[in-house]
């Protein structure tokens, strides 16, 4: 499947937007691991801005960055959201309430608990009525999201934005699912070489190959964050990584991305 990467958005520990991240991944700037910024999306109406959870805020921030860089109107973009675990903090709070005596579940927490909450807030923020899907494949959620987005671009011949994110788990759930750091990425993918694409990707499902190594600095900070499995692709986009990126996929198969500027 052939597609063009039009724009990128990224937020993570010490990764504050694509411009800064690109410089780090290209080896032009040093990496230092600082906590991920907590964005407050001003595109949301006040009520939704107040109610939105961290997963939605992070997703909207990277989506906004990619859309502004692409100059494609968000109304024309289908979206695919990928996450291994959604918002573990909400799971923790709701399960805590349900184990208590009165079992009161907060209505806001409950509607934020749906996996597609970031998609819902994004469509409210942009007024976009485009279709949106939310996918999960545990540790392989980024690869599954990329596959879904690539298939949409190929079959529907329309631009698709993939937004992948994962948040740290609080205790005690962290022991059962050790995810650390907050990380989100948005990749705006188009079926044609319109405008000025960053790169052409040719994506195939293949027999297992050794996965492409992660860029060292951010890779160390984010080794326990499933969404960060996109890092080798971001390194390729920054011009500092391998042009053939192999990501682990199900059953010892690999999602292979051949990158061409």
């Amino acid at each position: 499947m052939e597609l063009w990467v039009r724009a990128v958005g990224v937020l993570g520990p010490g990764l504050d937007g694509w411009t800064a991240t690109r410089a780090i991944l290209a080896g032009l700037e040093p990496y230092s691991a600082r906590p991920t910024k907590k964005p407050i999306p001003d595109v949301l109406p006040a009520t939704e801005r107040r109610r939105s959870g961290e997963a939605s805020r992070l997703a909207i921030a990277v989506a906004q960055e990619a859309v502004s860089a692409s100059r494609i109107p968000s109304q024309e973009l289908a979206t695919v959201f990928a996450s291994s675990d959604g918002d573990g903090d909400i799971t923790h709070k709701i399960c805590g309430s349900l184990a208590g005596t009165d079992r009161d579940v907060s209505p806001t927490l409950f509607h934020n608990s749906v996996y597609n909450a970031p998609a819902g807030y994004w469509s409210i923020a942009t007024g976009s009525r485009s279709g949106s899907t939310s996918v999960c494949a545990y540790d392989l959620s980024f690869a599954a999201g990329l596959l879904e987005a690539a298939v949409q671009v190929t079959v529907e011949r329309q631009p698709v934005m993939l937004i992948a994110s994962d948040l740290p788990f609080p205790a005690p759930l962290h022991a059962a699912r050790p995810v650390d750091q907050s990380f989100a990425v948005a990749l705006l993918l188009a079926p044609h070489e319109i405008g000025t694409p960053l790169m052409r990707w040719d994506i195939t499902l293949e027999a297992y190959r050794t996965p492409t190594a992660w860029p060292s600095g951010p890779g160390n900070s984010l080794r326990n964050n499933p969404a960060a499995r996109c890092l080798p692709l971001l390194a390729a986009l920054a011009g500092g990584g391998s042009p053939i990126v192999s990501l682990d996929y199900l059953d010892h198969s690999s999602l292979v991305v051949a990158c061409e500027v």
């Binding site: 399960c95 579940v105 409950f110 597609n116 879904e148 298939v151 949409q152 198969s253």
Partner: protein
């Protein structure tokens, strides 16, 4: 938008509150029996009616897949065992090879019930009991992973979770996987099981009826939650004859509110229009609409507006949720299965428990069941976050 070729459905399985397997489900549907009962789920003190699948508590998953044991995967297994579905998949697996068959399952809460219960047994230090198997129980991928292991499939797989449209969306993803050439066949399905979070959560939003839900009734006051598992084997045309096919799908967002539909049903209408275009059909070609029809004031009103805007006020519509309850992430597949039965038997089911249709609704809500020749039907599913999916199914002649 390109018109898609009909996508044959070569296997169907269902476990839902109306019954296990197609024959029992059909019997309940034509006889107008409901699968709802006063809430007796565990110790949930919520005054409502539910569609519970009886006996899941006593049917653990044993053997090599025992790690996946949880209520949701038990329900998935019960579903897979119905209607000779596993044999249909095995036949396709032999024809195409395991790597050419995908698995796409919709769910909203997966096995969260096990985590809810684990929170009751935290240690003095707050730690959860080590019996909790997060990956195999609560993670949303658990059910898809379980299904692909059970069916020994190795193609692309993912869980989709877009609230109550989840297992309608699986048809769009499955169709694309086949049209892209990545898969020859896809097991598309939905599995959602009762848990405390949904019962107490919907109660906190004031959306649960204290009686069996009455979609479109003038006095409707909320939904009834159910649980179900359903699967369909979608396959590229040619290998095996089918009497039922996916003709089109439409996907949209409301861009309005997280838990209330856009009042004029504009997002819903966009999904319905897109489904018609993709199927290459005109509004007059749709002969029955299986409504999302939850029984909440806001949903039924908005959907009514969308139906009238896209299809007019003459097409027969009904909600089957009075029989099944709202099975959330399994609603799309469960209603797809009911649409298959409707087409097979030329039958339009009535809207159970509904006595007098809300006079402010303009579309043609069928209260009573009727036998009538059907060729093409539409099924709507709408979810929190304003996520809409509309499907069109048809007879294969």
């Amino acid at each position: 938008m390109d018109v898609m070729d009909p996508l044959p459905v070569t296997g169907i399985a269902t476990a839902n509150p109306l019954g296990l397997a197609l024959p029992a489900t059909w019997d309940a549907l034509r006889e107008g029996r409901s699968g709802l009962r006063p809430n007796d789920f565990m110790d949930a003190a919520v005054k409502t009616w539910i569609g519970r699948i009886v006996g899941l508590e006593e049917q653990p998953i044993i053997g090599e897949l025992a790690d996946w044991d949880c209520r949701n995967n038990r329900l998935a297994l019960l579903g897979l065992r119905q209607d000779e579905f596993e044999a249909s998949v095995e036949e396709a697996r032999r024809a195409y090879g395991p790597a050419r068959i995908g698995v796409v399952i919709g769910t909203t809460t997966s096995g969260i019930l096990e985590t809810e219960l684990a929170y009751r047994h935290r240690g003095a230090d707050g730690a959860l009991p080590d019996t909790l198997r997060y990956r195999h129980q609560q993670n949303l991928f658990s059910v898809s992973d379980f299904v692909r292991h059970r069916l020994r499939l190795a193609g692309p797989a993912a869980s989709l979770s877009t609230a109550c449209s989840s297992s309608a969306k699986v048809f769009a993803t499955a169709s694309r996987l086949i049209r892209s050439g990545l898969c020859d066949a896809v097991v598309a399905g939905g599995v959602d099981s009762l848990c405390l979070m949904t019962l107490y959560g919907f109660a906190s939003l004031g959306l649960l009826s204290d009686r069996p839900c009455r979609p479109c009734d003038a006095e409707r006051n909320g939904l009834s939650i159910g649980e179900a598992a359903g699967f369909m084997l979608l396959e590229r045309p040619g290998r095996r004859k089918a009497d039922f096919a996916l003709l089109g799908y439409g996907e949209s967002s409301d861009a309005y509110h997280m838990s209330t539909p856009q009042p004029e049903g504009k997002g819903a209408a966009a999904a319905m229009e897109q489904a018609l275009s993709r199927a290459g059909l005109k509004p007059v070609d749709i002969e029955y609409v299986n409504l999302h029809g939850t029984g909440t004031a806001a949903n039924d009103r908005a959907e009514d507006q969308a139906i009238c805007a896209v299809l007019g006020d003459r097409v027969p519509c009904s909600s089957t949720k009075g029989g099944t309850g709202h099975t959330l992430g399994a609603a799309g597949i469960t209603e797809a299965v009911l649409c298959a039965l409707c087409l097979r038997h030329d039958f339009i089911p009535g809207t159970l428990h509904t006595a007098a249709v809300d006079p402010s609704l303009v579309s043609r809500i069928m209260v009573k069941s009727v036998y009538q020749p059907l060729r093409r039907v539409m099924s709507n599913s709408f979810g929190f976050g304003g996520n809409n999916c509309s499907l069109i199914f048809g007879k294969v002649t």
